[in-house]
C-alpha cells in the first residue's frame, strides 16, 4: 500500500489501508451512506496531508478544541489536528499502533494519567510521524490534558505557537473576547506561514461550515425518530468531522451522507437494530473508539441503540452570519465556545455539562444513560457526584464506568459489555416491564 504512489511511514500506511479496506466493504452496501462518506473523507484527508507535504505547503497544527476555519482563511495552508493519527488509527487502522505511541510517550516521561490521545500525539512527534508545522494555533479547551500536550509539543517542536484563550463562560462577552483573539491571531498565521489571509476565502469557508451545519442539524433531528434509523457507532464521528473538515466541501459531503442515510432509512421504515430496538440510551462523555464493533454488539445482543451522544450532539448555535468580517469572527468564536463538542460541555460550570445531558435524554427519549468516563477527563470525573444527583433527580437511570477511549488496555470491551448487560438486566429492564 502506498499513499499517492509513494511509500510512507508504516503508521500512516496502516490507517490508509484500513480506510481503503473499510471503504471497499461499505461501498457494497449502498445504504451505508454515512459511514461511506466519512471513510472516504478520512482517506482524502490523508491524501491531502501527503500531497501538502509533497507540494511543500505550510502546515498549521491545531488541537481538537480548535475549529480550524480561521486557519483555512489562508489560501494554500494545510491544517492538521494533533490528534489525527490516533483517531484514524483507532477508528480505521490498528489500535496496537496507538498503544505503541502511548508507550513511546510514557517512556519519554509523559505521565500516564495524561489523556491517551495527547500522549499518542507526543509519541507521534517522537517517532517523527507528523509533518513539521510552520506554526501552531491551539485553544485551551477542552481539558487540562490538552494544555499539557500543547506545552510538551511546543517545547519539542520549537515552533511558534499561539494560544487562543477560551474563557470560563460562554456569554456574548466571552464571544467578543475570543473573536478579538482570533482577529489578532491572523497576523501570527500570516507571518509564520508566509501566506496572506483572504477574507473572501474565509467567507467561503464559513459558508461551507453553515452548509455542513444545516445537514448536521437535520441529522440530529432525524436521529430522534423512534426507532432510531441509523447505527450507534456513527454518532460520535461527528466530532472527527468537525475537527478535521469544518469549512470544507468534504465536511458538507460527510454531513449530507449522515443526513441522507438517516432520512432514507426512516422513509424505508428501517431501524438501527435488526429485529427492533428495545432500549435507547444517551452515551455521555466519550465513545469507545478502539472498537466500533462494540456498538454493533450493543445493537445485536442487547437491542440497545444510542440515538445521540456528547460527540454527536450538534448545538443549534452553529449557524454563522457571514455578512461582515466581525460577524464571521464572532460566529467562529461562538462555534468554538458553544458548538464544538467537548469544548461546549467540558469547560465552564458543571451546569453546561449537565444541561446538555438532560436535554439529550429528554429529546431522544432515552430509557437510561451511560456515563463512559474516559479516565483522563478530570472535568467529567470531578463532576460525577453532581452529575449523578442531577440524573437521579430527573429519574434517568445512569450507568457509570471508567475506561480509556483510545487505549483498550485500561478496561476491556468484555468488561464494559458486562457492565451494560447487568445494568440493563438489573435496572432498566425491570423498570421498563413495570411501565
Amino acid at each position: 500500500m502506498t499513499i499517492l504512489g509513494k511509500e510512507r511511514k508504516e503508521d500512516w500506511e496502516v490507517v490508509y489501508e484500513g480506510a481503503t479496506g473499510l471503504i471497499d466493504l461499505y461501498e457494497e452496501d449502498p445504504e451505508s451512506k454515512g459511514m461511506n462518506s466519512i471513510l472516504i473523507g478520512f482517506r482524502n484527508f490523508i491524501d491531502d496531508i501527503f500531497a501538502a507535504i509533497d507540494e511543500g505547503k505550510p502546515f498549521v497544527w491545531h488541537n481538537c478544541g480548535c475549529s480550524p476555519e480561521l486557519i483555512k482563511g489562508l489560501d494554500g495552508v494545510q491544517t492538521m489536528p494533533i490528534e489525527v493519527l490516533t483517531v484514524l488509527q483507532d477508528l480505521v487502522g490498528e489500535v496496537d499502533f496507538t498503544v505503541a505511541l502511548i508507550d513511546e510517550a510514557e517512556s519519554h516521561g509523559v505521565a500516564p494519567e495524561v489523556c491517551s490521545i495527547d500522549k499518542a500525539a507526543v509519541g507521534a512527534v517522537l517517532k517523527d510521524l507528523y509533518p513539521e508545522p510552520a506554526c501552531m494555533l491551539y485553544h485551551n479547551t477542552p481539558c487540562d490534558s490538552q494544555i499539557a500536550a500543547i506545552k510538551s509539543l511546543t517545547e519539542m517542536m520549537k515552533k511558534p505557537m499561539r494560544l487562543m484563550d477560551v474563557p470560563y463562560l460562554s456569554t456574548d462577552r466571552e464571544v467578543k473576547y475570543l473573536a478579538k483573539q482570533l482577529q489578532e491571531g491572523i497576523p501570527f498565521l500570516e507571518e509564520h506561514t508566509g501566506l496572506k489571509f483572504d477574507w473572501d476565502k474565509f467567507r467561503e469557508v464559513r459558508e461551507e461550515s453553515n452548509r455542513t451545519a444545516e445537514y448536521l442539524r437535520d441529522w440530529n433531528e432525524l436521529r430522534r425518530h423512534r426507532p432510531c434509523p441509523q447505527v450507534s457507532k456513527i454518532v460520535a464521528l461527528n466530532t472527527a468531522l468537525l475537527v478535521a473538515f469544518s469549512g470544507e466541501p468534504e465536511g458538507t459531503k460527510i454531513a449530507k451522507g449522515f443526513r441522507d442515510e438517516a432520512k432514507e432509512r426512516i422513509e424505508r421504515g428501517e431501524s438501527a437494530v435488526e429485529g427492533g430496538e428495545e432500549y435507547r440510551a444517551i452515551w455521555y462523555q466519550d465513545p469507545v473508539w478502539w472498537d466500533l464493533q462494540f456498538y454493533d454488539w450493543m445493537e445485536s445482543e442487547l437491542k440497545l441503540v444510542i440515538p445521540m451522544d456528547l460527540f454527536g450532539y450538534y448545538a443549534p448555535e452553529a449557524l454563522i452570519d457571514t455578512s461582515t468580517p466581525q460577524s464571521m469572527l464572532e460566529g467562529l468564536a461562538r462555534k468554538n465556545l458553544k458548538v464544538l463538542p467537548m469544548s461546549r460541555q467540558f469547560k465552564g460550570p458543571i451546569d453546561y455539562y449537565i444541561d446538555d445531558y438532560l436535554r439529550m435524554c429528554a429529546d431522544y427519549e432515552a430509557d437510561f444513560a451511560i456515563f463512559a468516563g474516559h479516565v483522563a477527563c478530570k472535568h467529567g470525573l470531578g463532576g460525577i457526584g453532581l452529575f449523578r444527583e442531577a440524573s437521579r433527580e430527573a429519574g434517568i437511570p445512569l450507568l457509570y464506568f471508567e475506561f480509556d477511549m483510545f487505549d483498550p488496555r485500561v478496561t476491556s470491551a468484555e468488561a464494559i459489555q458486562e457492565e451494560i448487560t447487568h445494568f440493563i438486566e438489573d435496572i432498566v429492564a425491570p423498570v421498563k416491564e413495570t411501565v
Partner: protein
C-alpha cells in the same frame, strides 16, 4: 520569641483548618475569604477588610466526603479540601473566590457553589497565558470581583484601602524575601521543612501578626549558624506543596531544601507590587497576572525555566526535586518538559509523584537517596 517558639506557633497555625489567629480575627468580628490560587488577588480581600485564607486540606482525616462527589482520579489535594468543606470544617468562611486553576479545582468550585453554600461565592475567569493581549480581560475580572464584594457586603473599597493592602502584603513579601536570602547562606539557619511551615502560615493568618512574628524570627535566624551537614542543596518545585512533612522526608536523606518554588512556597509571593501613581487595582492585577507562571499557564515555559535556573544559581543548589500530586495534568506536562530541559542544562532533576497528606517517607527516602548517590553526593 526565639526561633523554636515562633516555628512551634506557626506549626500550630498550619496543622488544622482553624487556628488561634483566625479564631481571634473572627472573634473580633472579622470576616474571612477563601481562595485556592495565587492568581486570585488576595490584596482585594485585605482592602475590603477580609482575612485572605488559602484553602488546603490540613486536618482532613480522610477524603471520603469529597470521594462521594469526585472520582478517585481527581487529585487528593482537591478531594481533601472539598471533604473539609462538605464536613463544615471550613464554616468560618464568609466567602470563596475560585477560578479555573485546573479541571479538578473547577469542579471543586461547582461543589462549593452547589453543596457547601458559603455566603459569598464568586468565580474569576483567569486567562491561561500571561500575555499583555489578555491582561485587560483579567483586569476586568478583578474589577468585577471588587464590585461584587462591595455590593454583596455593602462596603466600599477605596484606592486608599487598596494602597494599604498593597503595603501590608508587600511587607510580607519583603520578609519572605529576607527569609529566603538567609537560605542562600552556606549554612542556612532554617531547613526547608521549617521554612515551608512559615510560608504556609502566611496564607492562613492576619498578615500584620504574621509580619511581627517573622520580624522576630528573622532577627533570631540572622545570628544563628545553620546546618552544614547536608549532602546536597536542592530546590523543590512542581505542584502545590503545603506539607512540611514531605520536605522533611527529603531532608532526612541529607538533601537540604533551600527554596520551595511551589504554591505555598516562594512562588506564591513574588516580587513587591511596585509603588506608583496609577490605578491601585491595576497594579495589583498586573502583579498577579505576570507573576512567576505556574503550569496552568501557556506561552511562558521559557520564563519558568529561566526562573528555575536563576534560583538554582542564586541558592547555589545542586539539583531540583520536582514533585507532583498524582493526576495533576498541568504539572504532568511541565514535568515532562522540565525533565528534558534540565537535562540539557546539566541540572540534576528528580521527579516524584505523591499523594496529598501521605508523606510516603520510605519511598521518598529511597528515591532521594538514590538520586544523591547518582549525583555523587
Amino acid at each position: 520569641m526565639g526561633k523554636n517558639e515562633i516555628l512551634d506557633t506557626l506549626r500550630e497555625v498550619i496543622e488544622r483548618p482553624r487556628n488561634a489567629y483566625l479564631d481571634r480575627w473572627r472573634g473580633n468580628g472579622g470576616k474571612v475569604m477563601g481562595y485556592y490560587c495565587s492568581y486570585i488577588p488576595e490584596e482585594v480581600f485585605t482592602a475590603a477588610g477580609f482575612l485572605p485564607y488559602r484553602l488546603r486540606g490540613a486536618g482532613s482525616k480522610d477524603s471520603s466526603d469529597g470521594d462521594a462527589y469526585m472520582s478517585s482520579r481527581i487529585c487528593t489535594f482537591v478531594r481533601h479540601t472539598v471533604s473539609l468543606a462538605l464536613r463544615n470544617e471550613l464554616d468560618f468562611l464568609d466567602g470563596v473566590v475560585l477560578m479555573q486553576n485546573c479541571d479538578h479545582i473547577r469542579r471543586a468550585a461547582d461543589i462549593f457553589a452547589k453543596k457547601v453554600k458559603v455566603p459569598f461565592n464568586s468565580f474569576l475567569s483567569v486567562p491561561r497565558a500571561p500575555q499583555e493581549r489578555l491582561f485587560q480581560w483579567y483586569l476586568d475580572e478583578v474589577r468585577r470581583l471588587k464590585s461584587e464584594i462591595e455590593s454583596f457586603f455593602g462596603l466600599t473599597v477605596t484606592n486608599a484601602d487598596l494602597e494599604k493592602a498593597i503595603e501590608l502584603h508587600n511587607a510580607t513579601r519583603e520578609r519572605i524575601a529576607r527569609l529566603y536570602e538567609l537560605r542562600k547562606r552556606d549554612r542556612p539557619p532554617i531547613t526547608g521543612e521549617e521554612a515551608l511551615g512559615v510560608t504556609i502560615a502566611a496564607h492562613l493568618m492576619p498578615k500584620g501578626e504574621f509580619n511581627n512574628l517573622i520580624d522576630d524570627l528573622l532577627i533570631d535566624l540572622d545570628g544563628k549558624s545553620g546546618n552544614d551537614t547536608y549532602r546536597a542543596r536542592i530546590i523543590v518545585t512542581g505542584s502545590e506543596m503545603d506539607d512540611p512533612e514531605y520536605i522533611a522526608s527529603i531532608e532526612k536523606q541529607g538533601a537540604l531544601s533551600v527554596a520551595e518554588i511551589a504554591c505555598f512556597g516562594q512562588r506564591s509571593f513574588g516580587d513587591l507590587i511596585p509603588a506608583g501613581d496609577g490605578d491601585s487595582l491595576e497594579r495589583i492585577a498586573r502583579h498577579k497576572f505576570f507573576q512567576i507562571p505556574c503550569a496552568r499557564m501557556v506561552e511562558c515555559f521559557d520564563e519558568q525555566v529561566e526562573m528555575l535556573k536563576n534560583t538554582v544559581r542564586d541558592f547555589n543548589a545542586h539539583a531540583i526535586i520536582f514533585q507532583r500530586i498524582k493526576f495533576c495534568d498541568p504539572w504532568a506536562g511541565d514535568g515532562h518538559s522540565l525533565y528534558w530541559r534540565m537535562k540539557q542544562e546539566g541540572i540534576p532533576f528528580l521527579s516524584l509523584e505523591r499523594e496529598y497528606k501521605v508523606p510516603a517517607a520510605g519511598q521518598v527516602g529511597t528515591r532521594v537517596q538514590a538520586f544523591l548517590e547518582q549525583m555523587g553526593k
